[in-house]
């Protein structure tokens, strides 16, 4: 099938090196960010470096390693639809699981989340 062979292969080595650079940023970014005093800046810096760059990396792998860039539109749509329904799930569940308080409901004090004593030194 010539369908199999219509790929023009990009330079995988270059992509691989870029991925590694991004990986380094996503590891070091949050570590530096944690030194910030401003809580808002901190949170957004961590989210951006950790998840934003994660998303870019994932996109790069998907586009060039999985060849989504030249895949049929239908396949891309399929994947987007799956992710859309996951977001829908999140939106529908969050009011109950993420924010269980309010709207005539409150947490039962008998069930408070236990503060765990951290076993940072293993007890034997």
């Amino acid at each position: 099938m010539n369908n199999d062979k219509h790929l023009s292969h990009p330079d995988y080595k270059k992509i691989y090196v870029r991925l590694l650079i991004l990986l380094a940023i996503s590891i070091w970014g949050p570590i530096f960010a944690l030194q910030l005093d401003n809580r808002f800046l901190l949170v957004s810096a961590v989210l951006l470096t950790a998840f934003g760059i994660g998303a870019i990396k994932a996109g790069m792998v998907a586009a060039w390693f999985m060849h989504l860039d030249i895949e049929l539109r239908m396949i891309k749509r399929l994947l987007v639809i799956c992710i859309f329904f996951l977001i829908l799930l999140f939106a529908g569940v969050a009011p109950d699981v993420l924010l269980p308080e309010g709207q005539n409901r409150e947490m039962d004090p008998d069930y408070e989340y236990p503060k765990i004593d951290n076993p940072s030194t293993p007890e034997q």
Binding site: C82, L86, L89, G92, V93, P95, D96, L99, P114
Partner: protein, 567 residues
């Protein structure tokens, strides 16, 4: 059953050994369809038997049930739970999605088999294994799982609460295996339909039933994922003692409910659509009419599929969810009545101007419409959040979903069997016995479930083994209705005996069927009856849409898809 699949022209006569091999290892889509069908019917007998036992207990509480014995509360819960699970996951799913899909898709789109025949076989093997695990779960110590088919934690996650440590885990493992089996099967259906269509079989020439099975498979695939993850979490709560759903340690029981119903509601359309499709394919044949609004039917089906993801929390209105969300889910739930109503109207409109012949498949198809409409409209009472406060978990709900499920899983199944039996086996079912079976089933079915609407109005709740504990419900009038429903259940089950006899008798001794006994237009009727392995000697080409009845282009009143136009 295996004759159905052995090429009659094959030089080798079937020996016992080759038959067993075919039964166990065949990759032929028709054999696998038969395996699904038979397994599904056997499970239907088990599920029906369970219904019989707990209905007897409800009508005659505390007395020994013939064929079972004394029903303890634990028995009762396990029976109801497994009745629901079996009927949905081991009857409706295999017969409507898997058996119909396996048999019809390759034949109707004109190819010789599924694109992944060995995956197909694997799917059945996993499914069969899951059925065995489920049956095993009923016989372990502690008894079968009794926490309802929805398996809400913490009851289902903590053996201290449900008292069935083994039963609950095995039940869950069985359900998860079943999901995996249908995921694999569904991928096969979708890829086959997308990629292996005969030349000329454009998207708008695919028979509606194939469309509906494919859409159902996609719905299943997209909705079941989070529940598989949820099942892994529930299993680890049960076996390892983690706290995913345990409020004592930061978990939340509501999470499972959401994951379950995010799957559960699309799931009811997963079984609805194939049944709707079967009916859509039968009505034009016996009304000799082109399907009314093929494209419209396709679009409203897709609309139903998409909308079905937006309604799930209507099962949880009073479950402690954010009350503001109820408004959203009420709106989406009521809106879903529009595409389904339209679909029903299209079916009815197809009858207009036809020349309707009442053969058994047609009778079942019409009965499907007649009964499903009642099930559908009673869903509106439940979808309106305020009335659901009253009706949630009453017998009104039970009656609602049996008026949808029974038409789908039983009536739709019979419509399909009576219609395609001549093709699959090469012999006819007996028409008279078919009609006896039909009337007996339909009439008694209504007597089983109509009283349940009234019981629900009276405030009777579900999953309660003995109503004598509730003075408001113990009264004469209500008890009489329970007895009526129970007697009708027994009659209903008794009327399946003619079918079983008819079915097995006709497989070997029935009247021989020619290639196209119903004078239908879709591709499967152009293959031999029964179709050999590979279906056609030369694969067909398609020239027109699937429902050309009464077409002005032909002298006869039908024009099959594969006939070359003579111009």
């Amino acid at each position: 059953m295996t004759e159905a699949t052995i090429d009659p022209t094959s030089p080798k006569a079937p020996t016992i050994g080759s038959r067993i091999r075919i039964c166990l290892f065949s990759t032929d889509h028709k054999v696998i369809a038969f395996q699904y069908l038979i397994t599904g019917l056997l499970m239907a007998i088990i599920g029906g038997y369970m219904a019989y036992v707990f209905r007897m207990q409800l009508a005659f509480p505390g007395e020994d049930v013939p064929g079972f014995g004394w029903v303890s509360p634990g028995h009762y819960n396990a029976l109801v739970t497994n009745h629901g699970t079996i009927m949905i996951f081991w009857v409706a799913m295999p017969v409507l999605v898997a058996a119909a899909g396996n048999f019809l898709i390759p034949l109707m789109i004109g190819c010789d088999d599924m694109v992944f025949p060995r995956l197909n076989r694997l799917s059945f093997q996993i499914f069969f294994l899951s059925a065995l695990v489920l049956i095993a779960s009923l016989h372990v110590s502690g008894g079968g799982f009794g926490g309802a088919w929805t398996a809400y934690p913490p009851l289902s996650s903590d053996p201290d609460f449900n008292l069935t440590p083994l039963g609950a885990s095995l039940w869950l493992i069985a359900v998860a295996l079943e999901f995996v089996a249908f995921l694999i099967g569904g991928i096969n259906f979708v890829t086959t339909t997308m990629n292996a269509r005969a030349p000329g079989m454009s998207l708008m020439r695919i028979p509606i039933v194939v469309w509906m099975i494919v859409i159902a498979s996609i719905l299943f695939m997209v909705s079941v994922g989070p529940l598989i993850a949820g099942a892994v979490m529930l299993l680890s709560d049960q076996l390892a003692g983690t706290a995913f759903y345990d409020p004592h340690n930061g978990g939340d029981p509501l999470l499972w409910q959401h994951l379950f119903w995010f799957f559960g509601h699309p799931e009811v359309y997963v079984v609805l659509l194939p049944a709707m499709g079967i009916v859509a394919d039968i009505i034009p044949v016996f009304a000799r009419k082109k399907f009314f609004g093929y494209k419209a039917a396709l679009y409203v089906t897709i609309a139903t599929g998409v909308l079905s993801f937006f309604v799930w929390a209507h099962h949880q209105f009073v479950a402690g969810i954010d009350p503001r969300m109820a408004h959203l889910f009420t709106a989406t739930t009521l809106l879903i009545s529009i595409p389904i109503a339209e679909l029903c109207f299209l079916y009815i409109a197809t009858l207009f101007g036809g020349s309707i012949e009442f053969r058994t498949p047609m009778l079942w198809a019409i009965a499907f419409l007649v009964e499903f409409l009642l099930g559908g409209v009673t869903g509106i009472y439940l979808g309106a959040s305020a009335t659901d406060i009253n009706f949630h978990d009453t017998y009104f709900v039970v009656a609602h979903f049996h008026y949808t499920f029974f038409p789908i899983a039983i009536i739709g199944l019979f419509a399909g069997i009576y219609h395609w039996f001549p093709k699959a086996v090469g012999r006819h079912l007996n028409e008279t016995w078919g009609k006896i079976h039909f009337w007996g089933t339909i009439v008694s079915f209504n007597f089983v479930f109509i009283p349940m609407f009234f019981l629900g109005l009276g405030g009777q709740h579900r999953r309660i083994f003995d109503y004598r504990h509730f003075p408001d419900l113990a009264g004469e009038g209500f008890q009489d209705m329970r007895v009526i429903a129970t007697i009708a259940t027994c009659v209903l089950i008794a009327f399946q005996i003619p079918f079983v006899i008819n079915f097995f008798h006709s497989i070997w001794k029935g009247k021989k069927a020619e290639q196209n006994p119903w004078k239908a237009t879709t591709l499967e009727w152009s293959a031999a009856s029964p179709p050999p392995h590979g279906n056609w000697k030369t694969l067909p080409t398609v020239y027109r849409g699937p429902y050309e009845y009464g077409s002005p282009d032909s002298e006869e009143d039908y024009l099959p898809q594969h006939i070359e136009p003579n111009t």
